[in-house]
Subunit: 634 residues, 2 copies
């Protein structure tokens, strides 16, 4: 618990300026074959060594002639020319010997016998001749320095007789994963292990930025071992990245190691996530300590490492495209940090709607799901719902526009639909946010979603979904696409060790329960049953522990982290759990009528009605799809 170092809180721009003023970018140069230069950046301008073409050549199939011998030819007065004496047959591209100065097209010739032809119009000097140097003249500039080589450049440079060019070398980036808890992917995992996926993500990022990644073996949290590896990496690479241990905790050695071997210029930048970054150098080479949380690491890679690599390669900073979007919900932010919020975007009607994803720095999936990044300036405490914000895109705008925005209750079938819709039509996507059925209703109300999967049991009538739509969405014209009936029940470990037979047992046997979040249909189902049984929620141990999906609840039970939870049959089956049925419920899709006309929604309906999809439902188990795809007006 020794924490004696305090991090600085440099503003981002200040940190970048300060750090880049301290480090040297020693760009290397190398001579490579022109044909291997795709994507490389020229270190020198490329001038042609020869002309292309380097001789006069025919621009047509026809005959090469001396134009003076054709003077006077016209429709009435044909002139006859003799092969070998007066003309030479040439194809396009053939060189024109010095004695000829013009080409007559084959179409303009009257063929006679004995290799003779007649012509009926005179030929102008240099007609149909591709002059020497028409494309490239000797000693002229083909591409300037600092130019990124494209395929067409390779052609022109070779045509200009230049077979080797000087380009900037790609920097080698050493990546050192540190942490006693880290294990290689693929090994048998035990509690406390963390798979070292960060170093692999960095390697792909380094490749994307234009560098060459060199990954070192995992180093345990041992000061001397880390120091030795950093020392070796500095001697073998142009830039060194040390992953994790960049903060100021008791086993955070990065800053100390860099200080001992070189210099730390900045430790801590006012960004979130990504604050505990170490910006230093050893032997004049940039050395960066990168935080361990994957999202923090991503932000630091994008803000610092990308810039350095691009400078090394001579590449220009590639910026993400920016779009305007309407914020669907309020985002609070600290005045202490410039914050990077991962956003989900959806084009609902004509508006691009931006919804913040999980802000946890540990959630790799928030990066996978993100369509863009919203920056909240340090001097703002937050942004209100409904405000227009600027978002840096991580995906193609067109793909976002071709995405069904699905917000509501979770079921594994949503994952399947999301995969199938894209497989059936390359242009289409479905993105889903699992916020529970009531969350889905609210999203439709605010115009943030195209569709909302719901399974809401009305406590009064015992009827599903329709009463909620009538109550909460009465001002909207909402239809219901019937989906599946599914079985909800109590998920328990294989063999049902506590012998649970009904909800009553949970409180009676004082078992550890794991619940779903407020607004989830499954939670309402629990509450409905507790009320019927006259059990107070406080009697359920773990009632307050909230998970967001059926699979999360099932995973908690599978890992003996809870004795039981309420959820659907397919989730229990996937996780190999036993299952005590409690109720059949109706899981349907609410949709505003105006979206029913959209081709992508049409494709969605065809998909859920397809045999392909029904086969998948049978595989999952516990679904009744007899009414699937029927559209009803509540």
């Amino acid at each position: 618990m020794d924490q004696n170092i305090y991090l600085s809180n440099y503003e981002l721009e200040e940190a970048i300026e300060h750090y880049f003023s301290k480090i040297n970018i020693n760009r290397g140069k190398e001579v490579i074959k022109t044909e291997d230069s795709y994507g490389r950046i020229t270190a020198l301008p490329v001038y042609s060594k020869i002309s292309s073409p380097f001789y006069n050549s025919s621009a047509m199939d026809g005959i090469a002639v001396d134009s003076r011998k054709t003077i006077g030819a016209n429709e009435k007065n044909h002139i006859v020319l003799e092969e070998g004496k007066d003309y030479l047959v040439v194809d396009t591209g053939d060189p024109i010997p010095k004695e000829y100065d013009s080409v007559i097209m084959v179409e303009d010739l009257i063929k006679l016998d004995d290799g003779k032809v007649a012509i009926y119009k005179s030929a102008a000097s240099y007609q149909n001749i591709r002059p020497l140097g028409e494309d490239i003249v000797e000693n002229s500039l083909i591409v300037p320095s600092g130019h990124k080589i494209r395929p067409v450049d390779i052609g022109a440079i070779l045509a200009g007789g230049v077979n080797e060019i000087e380009v900037y070398t790609k920097p080698i980036i050493g990546i050192i994963p540190t942490g006693t808890e880290l294990v290689e992917p693929g090994v048998e995992l035990k509690t406390g292990d963390i798979i070292d996926f960060n170093s692999r993500t960095f390697a792909a990022q380094v490749f994307e930025y234009g560098g060459i990644a060199k990954r070192y073996a995992i180093v345990s949290d041992d000061y001397e071992k880390i120091k030795d590896t950093v020392d070796k990496a500095v001697s073998q690479c142009d830039i060194v990245l040390i992953n994790a241990g960049s903060s100021a905790g008791r086993e955070d050695y990065t800053s100390k190691v860099v200080k001992e071997l070189g210099q730390v210029f900045i430790h801590g930048v006012a960004i979130k996530p990504g604050k505990p970054v170490v910006l230093g150098s050893i032997e004049d080479k940039p050395v960066i300590g990168i935080p361990g949380y994957p999202v923090s690491a991503y932000v630091v890679m994008e803000l610092f490492v990308k810039r350095i690599i691009e400078k090394y390669c001579g590449e220009k900073e590639k910026e993400h495209k920016k779009v305007k979007a309407i914020l669907s919900r309020r985002i609070m932010s600290s005045l202490k940090y410039l914050e990077f919020v991962r956003m989900k975007l959806g084009k609902v009607e004509d508006k691009l709607i931006g919804t913040p994803l999980s802000r946890g720095a540990g959630t790799t999936m928030s990066l996978v799901r993100a369509d863009g990044i919203l920056e909240i300036p340090q001097n703002l405490e937050g942004i209100e719902a409904g405000e227009e914000v600027e978002i840096s895109l991580l995906k193609e705008e067109k793909d976002i526009e071709n995405t069904i925005v699905c917000i509501g209750s979770h079921d594994p079938i949503i994952d399947i639909i999301s995969d199938l819709i894209h497989m059936r039509n390359d242009d289409y996507y479905l993105s889903s946010a699992h916020v529970g059925s009531m969350g889905g209703i609210m999203a439709l109300k605010k115009g943030e979603a195209h569709i909302a999967p719901v399974h809401l049991l009305d406590m009064e009538s015992g009827e599903y979904n329709i009463p909620y739509i009538k109550k909460y969405l009465k001002d909207k014209d909402i239809f219901l696409i019937k989906c599946v009936k599914r079985i909800q029940g109590i998920m328990v470990p294989k063999g049902n060790p506590h012998g649970i037979t009904s909800i009553k047992d949970i409180s009676e046997k004082n078992l550890k329960f794991v619940n779903r979040q407020r607004g989830a249909g499954t939670r309402l189902l629990l509450d409905y049953n507790l009320k019927k049984l006259n059990i107070d929620p406080s009697e359920i141990k773990g009632y307050d522990r909230e998970e967001f999906t059926h699979l999360q609840v099932a995973a908690a039970v599978e890992n003996n982290d809870a004795d039981c939870g309420l959820g659907i049959y397919s989730a229990a089956k996937m996780m190999g759990l036993d299952f005590i049925p409690v109720a059949n419920e109706e899981y349907d899709i609410a949709i505003p009528s105006k979206f029913l006309e959209k081709p992508i929604i049409n494709e969605f309906i065809n998909l859920i009605k397809s045999d392909e999809f029904k086969e998948k439902l049978d595989e999952l188990g516990g679904y009744d799809y007899r009414e699937i795809g029927e559209i009803i007006r509540p």
Copy 2:
């Protein structure tokens, strides 16, 4: 001269539809390591195998406790906890043993002696705990099929315990260069040789499109040899490209070979350039005959080969961004073809101005210089100057906006400026069109250029440039940036074999001359001298042969294609020619006053005044730069 095959004239869309209905895209699949999957396309959806984290872990540095033991703690009533008995020290990420259910942050602890701590508020269940599956739950979808893997996906997939994934294979594209005239880059060239640069351009394009290129050795124009190579390539590759010989000339064997070994579906598409394309298949594999002219080849690669490779890889069609521009000059087009015109773009004031580049299918440099492509539909005979057109961008829009558009007279120093301006500032570019001094004046008049290099001798006054600006640009506020005085003279082969001493000798000795185009300052200089000498242009042999730059004239003389030409000293020196001085002239830069304020123009002026640039002028020779960079108002 046997041309017995006539090409078809399929409309492009029809050709694409017909061809793609005839060929099979047999996409291969392979399993690769997740960490090597950057940029690949998933062939199956990727579901997690484990949860991440797969145990409950601490979200903070602190102590793990049983929350029940903390009940009742407050500011007045501290509760003392003992290490080992009541708590466990945990760092962020450490697993929480089953006996604990809550984490208290280190900041909220009062350290006592003997491993004891006091707390002053109670801990809630699951507080500061990162629950199992918070990021990824076992069996949940990480990325769907048809997804292109990004670095963040690699992290998430590995975190989800998936170390190998199934992706589409990259297709192997065989490239067969054919032509007796082809030689490898780097060999000693003789007249009639053509460097095989096309196959290298194709290889880079194939890489860019996502395929693997396999280049075969050059095959001479021999039917059997071509057939054998195609046969071999079909057995080794997924797609085969045969370069040149795709038309219907006497040595165009592609179509016949493909017909013998397989099927030709289309031979000839109504596009320009690119018409003589062969679209066929052999043993169910696409085989394409690609025209020999590099621009035709480029168009066919982009329209057909790119599409096929993308379908193989499971990639979506990447489209070029489109912008609107004003056409600077009229373009005529044939009703027979959909035409692809390479365009130079420039942002002059607020308008994006598009100017067509050379339309010759043989000019690789027009592709290198092009900022975009304009498609002229088949049903249009042309587009008028001033009309708004849509252009597919080949460069970043931002780079185009940061480009000085320089239209006018040519001098090798313009190439040097174009290189240096970008070297001195990454963001800046200069693009130049060599249309002669009068062309430059007209470009300024029409608002198509920022600057115009001119050297225009007024026949009456003998004064340079200013009389022309006053006459032609009197309605514009034009300044002159003084540039260089340079020596014009007669360029003759080394040793001056014809003993030329003055312009008079050209006609008197009946020598072969090579002239510059109408509107070029150098041509005006010749005319001025001929007039003074009372020589009629018809007395100069080759007066009608027009070249567009000093270097082109020098190259014609160097290659004994002409006995002499008029041009500047530096061009003669570059080409190793002898030089007979004729006149000193003033080569200056005309510029509208409103552009003088622009930072990029400021940089331009600083550059030409710099020692770095003056050194380059000294190296070239023949330049007097005493007034360089001075700005005068005519």
